[in-house]
Subunit: 295 residues, 2 copies
Amino acid sequence: MQRYGTVAIIGVGLIGGSIGLALRARGLARWVIGIGRNEARLANAERLGAIDAATTDIARGVAEAEVTVVCTPVTRIADDVVQASQSGLAKMLVTDAGSTKLKIVEAVESNPRACAAFVGAHPIAGSELKGAAHAQADLFEGRVCVLTPTERTPADRLSRARSFWMDLGCRIVEMDPEAHDKALALTSHLPHAVAAALAASVPGELLPLAAGAYRDGTRVAGSDAALWAGIFCENRLPVLNALEAFHSRLDAFRNSLDAADEDGIRAWWDAAHARRGLFDELEPAPQTGRVDGRQ
Amino acid sequence: MQRYGTVAIIGVGLIGGSIGLALRARGLARWVIGIGRNEARLANAERLGAIDAATTDIARGVAEAEVTVVCTPVTRIADDVVQASQSGLAKMLVTDAGSTKLKIVEAVESNPRACAAFVGAHPIAGSELKGAAHAQADLFEGRVCVLTPTERTPADRLSRARSFWMDLGCRIVEMDPEAHDKALALTSHLPHAVAAALAASVPGELLPLAAGAYRDGTRVAGSDAALWAGIFCENRLPVLNALEAFHSRLDAFRNSLDAADEDGIRAWWDAAHARRGLFDELEPAPQTGRVDGRQ
């Protein structure tokens, strides 16, 4: 039943908070320790029941942990993984929840002790909302968690990482870090950039005439600027390539429209419609509205 | 209570069906006559309670109507308005629900009898779903309906059109047809084109790694191809201009990313975030999930 003694979570926001809630709701850990830099936010996460205890000291927080999950912004994850692994027990598993993987994995693997403890992970779940206040115990249920082991990842850590994320409700997909980053550039980072470009393309005074297409198309533009600027820069080249792919698709439309080629537009639209239909078959619509457990 | 004797609806799909349901739910009309080209679809709309009776003959359907609402695809609206106005009572108001206005209004005004009966309208409500089966009696509640009168629109018809759309729950905004089309190119047609381009940009084999940002960003790509090819072509130049505006916004992002300018990306994102925040202030999130009363 209680699979873990102590689990430490570094960064108790939407994702870290949801991991804490899930561990506690499922009775998986005896202790869930939250680690962060901001005491007020930690106190809030504790009050919300996402963690049992809190500290701003990584070394202290991970001292007893069997598993440490790093849920800080992507630009800070590698440092936090290294720091945790220096202080933790020799048997500790360290995993993360970062939206990019290649740079993180490379940085972690340059440190032997961190490399021996670490399995890169990306649970594909989230929302545009921020902070433990929006955390949900069921955020990971049925969601894909990509693990990005390399030839340097110890087999026992990989096996424990699989179990850990499955315990939270995830389905496991394994990819190498570079393939992960290329895929997510298209499936997640591109949709975020497009949403933000779309949001700003409509002048404020016309917003009363915007409705569902704008609302849904720009929802994720409500996400945190610093978080996303970090993700884009960490995954710069794959995102630039994804933008090229998108540009070509939109240019095909522009050219058909310029030529008033209604049949061409219809064929272009049909292809998009079919792709979206394929997604719907894989991914039934969620029950809830705004906080939807997906990013 | 019962404000209208007979109301005729030409085109009983999602929008026409919702108008019928709203008229009947609110007890506004004694008779709601559905007019269409497909008998099976008309029978279905009648079975669903969206209309009281049906015919495929426009002249017969509008013969007793005080109000005729044309809800066919934009490329057919002007013809249907002209045809209805030739057969209807001298006092009849004809209005429509088309997503574009300039070409429709120009075509209608070239016919004196149609011009004397017509007030262009666009209730900004809908969804990616199609057909009377998805119609909702409350589709128009609280939604904006843009009326596009010109100097040739008779004052009494304008006043009756305002009342009619308000009776269905709409808030009225009046604009000239050209201003409407330029605004909607940005607020609705652009988001649809972007959604379709985004949908097709992600290869099918990567869709299992797509989640909420893709799902919401591409929802309206599930809309009908013929319907949207028609809208884009009817509103060709404003849509081409809207694409330019969007391209500039996305290029600004691309250039910052190319230069690895994290601060520039953050500032770019902040502007988008603020614009989206402005929209949220105007437009609280709907209660329902997929069919959301907005297009």
